[in-house]
Amino acid sequence: MSHGNEALHEHPSVGMRPMYWVWFWLLAMTGIEVFLAYLQMPLRLMLIALIGLSVVKAALIIGYFMHLKFERLNLVLTIIPAMVACILLMNIFFPDAKRLTTHGVNRHMNAAPPAGGAAHP
């Protein structure tokens, strides 16, 4: 299959040695995650630890396996900041989850509206 813009495509040369290391660290971090899951940690602390490790693993996969570390900065800046911002914006829903927990609203109960107050629409 021919490509008209073949000459414009850069092929950064990356050796295999760092890739083996990345693979090793990804496996090691997965092992640490499984170990953490069996520690009797507070849920919030465990969530932070697991998500933190997952973000590091994701960065290694994107940077090395997907070669983004070796691409032009233009491509990185076009893809990563917007994607991360969109994903972070989804945190807007969690205060509502907290509200449901705090007020004891259970979606499986046909609870009557609180006395003296109107039900939320």
Binding site: H9, H11, M16, W23, L26, L50, F93, A97, K98
Partner: protein
């Protein structure tokens, strides 16, 4: 081209590296990256929805025992990570013109994905036998089954699509219909599937480990 225009263009290239090819990648690779951005938002939305439901539920279950669920899902993670390494090897050999080594590594990648799918299907069957469906489960909040099967099912569909995509590229590369760029683009997709699992595994499985008897 006048000297002023040439100088201006050279300055632009130096500062921005743009010109006619600002990203320095073929159109297929840029297209795959844009697809990955959109698909990551799909999975992001699903995982946030899962976390929202979990956080708002007082009876979210933790049904995953060390065996079979955590053992299976850990081995599945090993399969996906190793298949990513074989994919890297396929891309590496294709870039260095070692055509004979590319197809075997692509086949190894497909084997890793197929093993993941078989183990995942067995894990699903175990949970279904224990009474978990889309609408109900014996352990707690009814939404658990629906969210679990939706997220892991969509991911499994991506793995299946990736295996099919790898097969097409392997056959085409063997027949010299596709080149190293095509191998690299399918590699991007495969690593993305691996990347998504790096969030599904801790959020869905490890956060719901059963601690009791």
């Amino acid at each position: 081209m006048s000297e002023a225009v040439a100088k201006s263009r050279a300055t632009g290239l130096r500062l921005w590296g743009g010109g006619v090819n600002p990203y320095g990648v073929v159109y297929k690779k840029l297209g795959m990256w844009l697809f990955i951005v959109s698909d990551s938002l799909t999975f992001g939305a699903l995982l946030f929805a899962y976390s929202y439901l979990r956080m708002s539920s007082p009876s979210w279950p933790s049904p995953f025992h060390l065996y079979p669920s955590i053992a299976f899902s850990s081995v599945m993670t090993l399969c996906l990570l190793s298949s990513s390494l074989t994919m890297v090897l396929a891309v590496h050999h294709s870039r260095h013109g070692e055509r004979g080594k590319v197809v075997p590594w692509l086949l190894a990648t497909m084997a890793g994905g197929a093993t993941f799918m078989v183990l995942h299907a067995m894990e699903w069957m175990n949970l279904i036998r224990e009474g978990m469906t889309l609408k109900a489960n014996p352990w707690g909040d009814a939404m658990f089954g629906g969210t679990f099967f939706t997220i892991t099912g969509l991911h499994m569909f991506h793995v299946f699509s990736g295996i099919a995509y790898l097969g097409v590229i392997a056959v085409g590369f063997g027949r010299k219909k596709f080149n190293a760029d095509d191998v690299e683009v399918v590699g991007l997709y495969w690593h993305f599937v691996d990347l998504v699992w790096m969030f599904v595994f801790p959020l869905v499985y490890l956060m719901s480990v059963h601690m009791g008897e």
